[in-house]
């Protein structure tokens, strides 16, 4: 948290740096040999449609991440960081290549569901909604998947404390 509030001068300096590398029309960084594309809520649906056209036929994973406590320095300057990220891992069998999309989502904001492109994301988006409260518009059945239907709150958020529900250990009632 302490190092988040960097002065604005640094941002001004960074603008003089040469333009960011792009791939499939989105800013790209490379992590451990894998391309990571960065998206906003607006660019996300088009980017995924582009990737599907580029033979990325399978979404292997989609999950949410909560950056409430900070600790993120690897997002290109052109992308404004938000509290949540939706991280999509795609796989191309033809190219034998993985690619990852990190989309920034603010609290209370809604992001497009990619169910129409990749029906396999149905359960994954439900999980991200269940755990983080990220709203996916256009999802056919956005409801809780792992937590009970009447559960309050979203447990993987950083402000959802561990141990906030006390566990009571009781002896088994005696028979007779």
């Amino acid at each position: 948290m302490s190092d988040v509030a960097t002065p604005d001068e640094e941002l001004v300096e960074e603008e003089t740096v040469e333009p960011e590398p792009e791939l499939h029309g989105a800013p790209v960084t490379v992590v451990a040999g894998q391309n990571v594309l960065h998206a906003t809520v607006e660019t996300y649906p088009e980017l995924l449609a582009n990737l599907q056209a580029e033979a990325f036929g399978q979404v292997v994973d989609l999950c949410g991440v909560d950056y409430l406590l900070g600790g993120r320095s690897d997002v290109p300057a052109s992308i404004e960081t938000k509290r949540f990220e939706v991280v999509v891992n795609l796989l191309s069998h033809a190219k034998r290549e993985r690619i990852r999309v990190r989309a920034q989502v603010a609290e209370g904001e809604s992001i497009a569901s990619i169910f129409d492109l990749y029906p396999g994301t149905e359960a994954m988006e439900r999980e991200a909604f269940d755990m983080y409260g990220i709203d996916f518009h256009g999802h056919p059945d956005l409801c809780r998947i792992l937590m009970p239907e009447n559960w309050q709150g979203h447990p993987l958020r950083k402000d959802f404390e561990v141990g906030r529900i006390p566990v009571q250990f009781k002896a088994a009632p005696r028979q007779g």
């Binding site: 992590v31 451990a32 894998q34 990571v36 599907q52 033979a55 036929g57 399978q58 979404v59 292997v60 994973d61 999950c63 991440v65 909560d66 950056y67 406590l69 900070g70 600790g71 993120r72 320095s73 690897d74 991280v87 891992n89 069998h93 033809a94 034998r96 993985r98 990852r100 990190r102 129409d116 492109l117 990749y118 029906p119 396999g120 994301t121 149905e122 359960a123 994954m124 999980e127 755990m131 056919p140 059945d141 409801c143 809780r144 998947i145 792992l146 937590m147 009970p148 239907e149 447990p155 993987l156 561990v162």
Partner: protein
Amino acid sequence: MALTEDTETTDSGQADDGLVGDASRVTGIDNAVLRMSEAEVAALTQETTDEFGDSKMIINMGPSHPSTHGVLRLMLEMEGETVLRSKPIIGYLHTGMEKTGEQLTYLQGCTNVTRMDYAAPLFTELAFSLAVENLLEVEIPDRATWIRMMMCELNRMTSHLLFMATNGMDLGAVSMMIYGWREREEVLRFFEKVTGLRMNHNYIRPGGVAADLPDGWQEDVLGLCDLIEPRLEEYDILMTGQPIWRERLQGVGVINEAECLALGATGPLLRSAGSSWDLRRDMPYLAYDDVDFDVIIGTYGDSFDRYAIRLNEIRESIRIVRQCVANMPKGDYRVQNKKVTPPPRARIDESMEALIHHFKIFTEGFKVPEGETYAAVESPRGEVGVYLVSDGSSTPARMHVRAPSFVNLQTLPHLMHGGLLADAVAIISSVDPIMGEVDR
């Protein structure tokens, strides 16, 4: 042998035809998924209107049903004996393991993830360790790599043997249940010798493995291979060629390649539809480049193909294990990087620094550089991946496990659509879900 007509093996290097998951195909048969909440279903059953009158009904299967492999619950819309739409309902085993993972250090993390896929615990440990090593940028020694590979292949055998056992049990071949468990137990006995535990080993750790292989391991491992290989022939006699067995499985739960890709299915489910995709061959990790094995694929995408693929994958695993025994390199079983590795036990008795170092590693853990990474391996059920986000401290900021069973479960409504209720049991069994990793 009867198997050859239904499965074929391919060598490596075959180019894929660039097939892209055709979403419209799956959304076109969207009526396979029952998208209703419990309350809506309850309201419907109260009404019994004409539209939803006598011909159709919605029934519950599970969560505590012997053939659902744990606590899977299915809501089935039935017309007579025919399954129309269905919806898997999960979460009964949800214990917040991803949240727990954020509280544990990277060293403790393995004890957590190993409990997810309890039939193949080493694979989740491996994916987690690879992800941590990606962030740490450490290279692990050759011996550790080969030990990991051998143990994983043995684990694949136990997992597939467990599938053989439960699949047999679900379909009424009860003797197969006993045989599958018998052989699996032999391998688990070896695991106990190496790791100290039959299951939930916590053996593969960031930086290598927990302990070197015990003396005489070669005889043990080769003994296992020699024991299990002829038993697989017995399974063939018992089941593969049997008319009843074939009748129950052939043409049941058919799926094609485009549907598998669109739904994110991986592992034997994808290979049964004829897609030759195995991470071990196509995106090699560990030392899979240096061993010979075939990727088994099916042609019809039915439950029989999935059974036959798993049976033959045990044979391929035995082949890999034999090569591991022959080529096991000498050297360290974990990386000699003081930052990651605790000092050897003997040093603790003589050196104060070693004691402090040991204490620090096991209480505070080691710090991992800031960043995010995704590592995936081919588990017996498909691609198991770990997405890790580190904020530079000694616990992950986010640990997400991409569980193959969780994703594969989405194919269930499509596999069961239009089939009989009795076949639903065969289909659930052939997808081989492990609820521990579905619910996490």
